[in-house]
């Protein structure tokens, strides 16, 4: 079963060289029920730019020996995640080498942090952190007939925004039940739902076909505000398929 995403917040994280504690106090999600936290990294073959700053997202596997550990304390003051190695919760831009997890707690972000060890000779790392959270009960779709529409797109710039209402105008006011992409889809979805927000989600999340994959919770999306953000050197054509309730 893919991990259902109701809401995702995206944060760009800059990791300096040396041994550092990076506070997560800026994460403004204290009252949210947190489902999971993941880092996102480029790879040597699939290098992406950040949708936040436009800088290149570092390829963690190519930086040589380095270490990033997650430490989380919940709203009951229990430090329930201690030194969780990024090797378990980093999603690379073309692989599914990570461990799915469910947190199911409210987190005291002021007491939560990343512990990082980056050799001085390496460069400062630029990574994306994704925090999935819930705010409403999910819509149950059992037995509903679902339709699909696929569009093929070809980027002609490194940084290019494709607003979905241009390509899926007939899906306005429809409940969107799924996103699927082809493998060359090197960018992000920025989704504005009626009660949901999925901020700068890597398209790769929807390309993972193993049991670790992700899918959006069924939701009505404002297609005028929602876009696919192409952020890579690639000029290869790719496809986006939206599933919806007809």
């Amino acid at each position: 079963m893919p991990h259902e995403l109701q809401n995702i917040a995206c944060f760009e994280i800059t990791v300096p060289t040396g041994t550092n504690i990076i506070s997560l106090g800026h994460v403004n999600l204290n009252d949210r029920l947190i489902q999971s936290v993941y880092l996102f990294s480029s790879t040597e073959d699939v290098m992406l730019f950040s949708p936040v700053s436009g800088k290149q997202v570092s390829a963690l596997a190519e930086t040589g020996p380095c270490a990033i550990y997650l430490n989380l304390t919940d709203s009951d003051n229990e430090q329930f995640v201690r030194d969780y190695s990024s090797g378990n919760f980093t999603i690379y831009s073309e692989m599914d080498h990570f461990v799915s997890w469910r947190i199911n707690r409210k987190i005291d972000w002021k007491q939560s942090f990343l512990k990082t060890i980056i050799p001085d000779k390496a460069s400062t790392l630029n990574l994306l952190m994704y925090i999935a959270f819930e705010n409403v009960a999910s819509m149950v779709l059992s037995g509903n007939v679902v339709a699909e529409k696929t569009v093929n797109l070809t980027p002609d710039n490194d940084i290019q925004d494709f607003y979905l209402d241009t390509f899926f105008p007939e899906l306005t006011d429809k409940t969107i039940t799924g996103i699927n992409v082809s493998n060359q889809c090197n960018g992000y979805f920025d989704l504005h739902g009626q009660n949901n927000r999925l901020e700068n989600v890597p398209a790769h999340f929807f390309a993972i076909k193993s049991s670790k994959g992700f899918q959006i919770a069924p939701m009505k999306i404002d297609l005028k505000k929602t876009c696919y953000l192409h952020r890579s050197f690639s000029r290869e054509s790719f496809s986006i398929t939206l599933s919806y309730l007809p």
Binding site: P65, C66, A67, F80, R82, R102
Partner: protein, 253 residues
């Protein structure tokens, strides 16, 4: 594998020229156990077995596993290549009569290459279940220093009285205490044995299978506890002048 795993044992079958069929060794540890998965260790990931024998170097499509069910007596054939490669893992759900089960070499060409090499299979037992997500779990760190052929885990006090559900090996460049950790290329000669309160539960399992992030389906433990002081790691390397450090995270409930 999928499901909740309560134990696993590595089984070695050494191939000999002129022989194509090999009975699986009878092992009392498997009695009454429901096998939920079988893994095939290829020579790239595990070049030598825990006893130091060379792993069968040719393609797994030369091998077939014929498992006899202890209740029905029915025999079922499995392609070992399917066991190794299929994206949707082969379903196993049987109590196996090991004395009537066998490994078959279906293509015995080039015996000079495979004679006296060993097929290494891991039999996982437990219960088939959707991989559970445990609410209110906690995650703890565990560093293990390897400076001899066999070392025992050195558990910190924080691991006492924990109920473990997942042991995850990763390869950070440095441990949280700042020590250099081994990389993935150095793990192929390490084997993990995990003990419960009064018996071995996981015996000589390649450490590779604890790199949960690299598995198609990460697996969960179905154990009341792990006695880390009786649990060990074997390393087949020859030179221990420089200690190696393995880093795990343990998920507990």
């Amino acid at each position: 594998m999928t499901g909740l795993v309560s134990g696993a044992i590595g089984v070695e079958i050494t191939l000999q020229r002129g022989q194509t069929s090999y009975r699986l060794p009878a092992m009392s540890a498997f009695e009454g156990k429901q096998i939920i998965s079988v893994s095939y260790c290829n020579a790239n990931n595990v070049p030598r077995t825990s006893s130091g024998k060379t792993v069968f170097p040719l393609s797994s499509d030369r091998l077939e596993l014929c498992l006899s069910d202890i209740h029905s007596g029915m025999k079922r054939k499995y392609s070992v290549a399917d066991i190794e490669n299929r994206l949707d893992q082969l379903p196993f759900n049987q109590t196996i009569d090991f004395r009537n089960s066998e490994l078959v070499l279906i293509n015995p060409d080039n015996p000079d290459i495979w004679h006296d090499t060993t097929v290494y299979l891991i039999f996982w037992y437990g219960i088939n279940a959707d991989n559970s997500q445990f609410s209110k779990s906690i995650i703890l760190p565990l560093e293990v220093t390897i400076n001899s052929p066999k070392i025992f885990f050195q558990p910190p006090l924080s691991l006492q009285n924990t109920h473990p559900v997942q042991l995850m090996l990763t390869f950070p460049g440095f441990t949280p205490s700042g020590r250099k950790a081994i990389d993935r290329s150095s793990v192929s000669d390490k084997f993990i044995t995990l003990a419960g309160k009064d018996k071995m539960l996981f015996s000589q399992i390649p450490a590779y299978y604890f790199c949960q992030s690299h598995l198609k389906t990460p697996w969960f433990l179905d154990l009341p506890s792990i006695d880390f002081e009786k649990s060990s790691i074997i390393s087949l390397k020859d030179d221990f002048s420089e200690a190696e450090v393995l880093f795990f995270n343990l998920m507990c409930v």
